[in-house]
Symmetry: none
Subunit: 145 residues, 4 copies
DNA sequence: GTGGTCTAGACCACA
DNA sequence: GTGGTCTAGACCACT
């Protein structure tokens, strides 16, 4: 039932993303959001270079064993937010970073603002928050190694 | 529109929460989550004192024009996470803060960790993050006034 | 609102149970069940001797700040299960232990049977169970000191 | 009587749980708790294998002649305690056993501790308890055959 | 009066 | 098709 390679055996689908996208089915967010996030990160960190072609919807769907509709939806969102651009008949390509990076920064700052608002309303002090943030940063750096 | 105002037309029910709970129907999150969050904040910031009675399920439902089941669900979650305790036939009461506050701190730190992980993976540096956090904190403090 | 000593000041209610009954409002079981259990234990362990008078419903209700109805209900259950007997106009008295003790033993064994059935159905082995029971026994003995 | 059998009168729905779940309406516990318990046992004893799909909420509701909300509530509890995980739009699936089994062991030991505490307070000796446990174990094993 | 459970039926987002 | 949320209204046990 999964969208694996079909029976022809021909489309042996080389891994086009080097396994950098892992879907976490226990994650409560919808799958297409996870795909969007991972592709954004690959674009922003340079794994996918500006003006290089994105993997085709079908290939990526097969590689991740997902419904092509799900990938399609992710690509539409990425185009809408300026991470990629599409040329009819040729495919999708990675945009210049500048716009994308600014978007991401705003998105992250929005999330932080929400969390910090909640914290302040719950009686957590600014200094406690700063400590928490430092702990998170070091944790995140350590994990990255 | 209100849930079960009686036929007199005179809406008796004194506001038991002083209008501190506002439901945002544009918010994509389910209503019961919004109720949970607001009540948590009221408990943590001391607006609801330990061992004082929570508004009854039915009263709060009327006040917010919601179905009692929705409030019930929120109360059960709050009991499960240690914010309130319930005596059958008597009502629900605010718990001691200690456990609740710890839970909240962990919850907030978990959110921050997620956001910061995403940021680092997207090429945002630790120093940029610290600046963003400072902006958020001052914004949050200003709004509080 | 609580059923404390009334305004006369006369019924200064000496503690008739030496504080051996503590109601746990966070316990999800109804209060009258807790009262029944505690009184059963006081009878079975000899704190209340056979044929000695039980505290009056009113006194016990005041002492525990409970509604007399709640105590009444507990006494009825205790009489029904043979822990106490009532003489009209004189009050309630502790029964001989034999019958009561047998009842309790059956009750406990019934509970154990249920838990053990569940355990076996969930793939816990008999030996694991024996180990768990030993841990529980030592824990219970230590706490008793 | 069944929930939403269609008008044809031909009850299609093949039994998805092989009749392993029987609701006892005489049981004082709520139905959803009974469902939770039965499903936990089926998962823990291997009747439902890890990563295999759980019956859909609607199907199980029809099969047991219950309201889908009741099943939904049970599934949410099972997800919360780590027995199953859910993918929106696809269904619920059995989790790896490890976490679930640990939870169950703790739950059972907690029950035993309570029963044994009560027993000790009622003057039942440790040795009597051990004998009772042995009787229960053999009874439980015999019934299993 | 209180909270807790259950049914019935609706609508939504996701795959 | 799936699960998730919400409303409406019923009944129960407990205080």
């Amino acid at each position: 039932m999964a969208y694996k390679n079909d029976a022809t055996g021909i489309t042996e689908g080389r891994e086009v993303t080097n396994g950098m996208i892992l879907i976490d089915y226990k994650d409560r967010r919808p799958i297409y959001e996870q795909v969007i996030e991972k592709l954004q990160q690959m674009i922003l960190c340079g794994a996918l270079e500006p003006h290089s072609p994105m993997p085709s919807v079908r290939n990526l769907a097969m590689e991740l064993s997902l419904n092509p509709n799900t990938i399609q939806r992710a690509y539409q969102a990425l185009e809408h937010t300026g991470y990629i651009y599409t040329i009819k008949g040729k495919g999708s390509f990675v945009s210049e970073l500048s716009a994308a990076a600014d978007n991401k920064r705003r998105e992250i700052e929005g999330e932080l603002q929400k969390s910090i608002d909640k914290a302040m309303l719950s009686g957590i002090t600014a200094d406690e928050l700063r400590q928490m943030v430092e702990r998170c940063i070091t944790a995140s750096e350590r994990e990255k190694l």
